[in-house]
Symmetry: C2
Amino acid sequence: MATIYQVSELAGVSLATVSRVMNNNVRVSEATRQKVLQAMEQLGYRPNSIAQSLASSRSNSIGILVSELHGPFYGEMLTGIEAEFRAAGKHVIIAAGHSERATEEDGIDFLRSRNCDALILHVEAVSDQFLIDLSKKEIPFVLLNRQLPALADRCISLDNELGGYLATRYLLEQGHRHIAYIAGPMWKADARDRFHGHQRALAEYQLTADQGLFFEGDFRETGGSKGLDALLASNRPFSAIVCGNDEMASGAMTAARELGYEVPADFSVIGFDNVNFAYYTYPKLSTIDYPVSAMGRMAARWVLKQVYQQNSIEVQQIFNPHLIPRDSVAEPAVS
Amino acid sequence: MATIYQVSELAGVSLATVSRVMNNNVRVSEATRQKVLQAMEQLGYRPNSIAQSLASSRSNSIGILVSELHGPFYGEMLTGIEAEFRAAGKHVIIAAGHSERATEEDGIDFLRSRNCDALILHVEAVSDQFLIDLSKKEIPFVLLNRQLPALADRCISLDNELGGYLATRYLLEQGHRHIAYIAGPMWKADARDRFHGHQRALAEYQLTADQGLFFEGDFRETGGSKGLDALLASNRPFSAIVCGNDEMASGAMTAARELGYEVPADFSVIGFDNVNFAYYTYPKLSTIDYPVSAMGRMAARWVLKQVYQQNSIEVQQIFNPHLIPRDSVAEPAVS
DNA sequence: TAGTATAATGTAAGCGCTTTCATTTATAGC
DNA sequence: GCTATAAATGAAAGCGCTTACATTATACTA
């Protein structure tokens, strides 16, 4: 592999000059620039990014910590992030946190030790205090899907409360009055916020959430099926179920079908996230869209702006969910 | 940030000794090791991985190029890869190739410029010759899901032909004799291999593929729905459809339902890949399992073995698919 | 006890760049 | 044609580590 030194020799200039044409901001006369470029070409020279990083103390790499690498949600997120950085010539180092405190802290540590210029964090289990402490260290980071007042300027998140509100209001508008709720793990802020939105919508109709029609699931398919069982076992009437996410909605629908119920004829179901498979379920799942890819992109742009000084970039921090009506919600049967 | 120099000073030893305790293979007396460890602790020292890389010409990073970062398939793959490397203290740099030649070549270039120690490539559009040329360069790489005789020792792939065979044999065993086929893009080797397996199974029953019941799709949902339309338009009777992958199978099933057909009552459908959403379709999709996560892991282990000399690791290069019977295949209606 | 093998540690030369500062060369003003 | 100023280039000191080689301390042998 050719080094900068060989290029400089061949071009008959100094190392510094070669370096300058590489980082083409400094002024070099057009003639020498051409000489150097040609020498590079001739040698098939590729700069050694490690050496560049060491000398410039810029690694041009950004650490991404997400809960999982698979699953419909994170894939979209990563796609958005990668596309944005790739275009900017930065690269992305990825680690998984698996929604566990230790693993998440470990992942952050791992990424830090990799000399990332910045971090994009989608963490769920780590404490607020940990993040506040981290913010005092030298490494910049942005938080995805987490609202933290003390770090408001580095949060990019969805208005989950609004999403929860929209889902339930839609059901109410369709005429539903007995609405069950299968929540995500209530220790997660997004699960709580969605539920609060639900309550607000109910309140507008002078209703309150029925404790007997509430089930705390796990954001996974089994949570949905267990939730449905619990709801049915409660013996309280309901004509619709709001689910904390699409996975649980799918689980609930599958369980319902296996028990002989028809969605939406017997009861409506609405999900949250609009992950790709929501379209493949039967019936197609009505849900709340979570613009996760756009949010990933935005996190990347935050980094570009704050860390790499690309000041012209505009950053949007709060995103709004919106309703995607499909086939799993209908008006309640007149009973 | 503390440097190795400060550690050495505090511990009262030389740089070399500190470096030795970090790479704890060389012999250092237990006493000094403790002194150094303590100094590190006290200073909160973290080695600068960039400097380590430059000095050792090992970046401890592995470049991964996949077609997409989202989608059920790649997510699983990445999960397997990341888990394996993370445990080994290596990190993963990810890029997307989008199944286009230029983007794939570009991605490889990008990863190479990042000084990866090795590459894991899931490329579809790049030519065999390109890969053969690449293999002559200094950077080691392993190919996922691609069979290339000239580079056989660096291919980790699924026996797609066998998968295609299993799918069709299953249908035949159920009694189907008029079997349609919705293929992936036939320029892709896996799509072709699966179809060849299909033909082999048919041959065992003294049948041949009916050209009128063949449709070349795009491995995406729309390919499946278009395929179904085309099959129906051909006016040839069929009682089952083999689909090149699950996405197309889902598309075909959705289209069928919208046209008033029932799966599997009117005809059976079988997919390929066993992606996560195959479980969420209605009816649940019978399919061929593609152990993609395990294969991702194996690619990582190949690298660990070949590049990082972890010789005790065993590597399996060919994986076998197997049948996952669910609800979308039944015996043909007696007509 | 000297002599030798071996273990422990130190010295210093890089790895391939960036960047500050000094120097040389070109441009302009009079 | 000479000086003042700006533009282009070069010299060299790191960036924070690893590692070959040299040196010193320790253990063992006869």
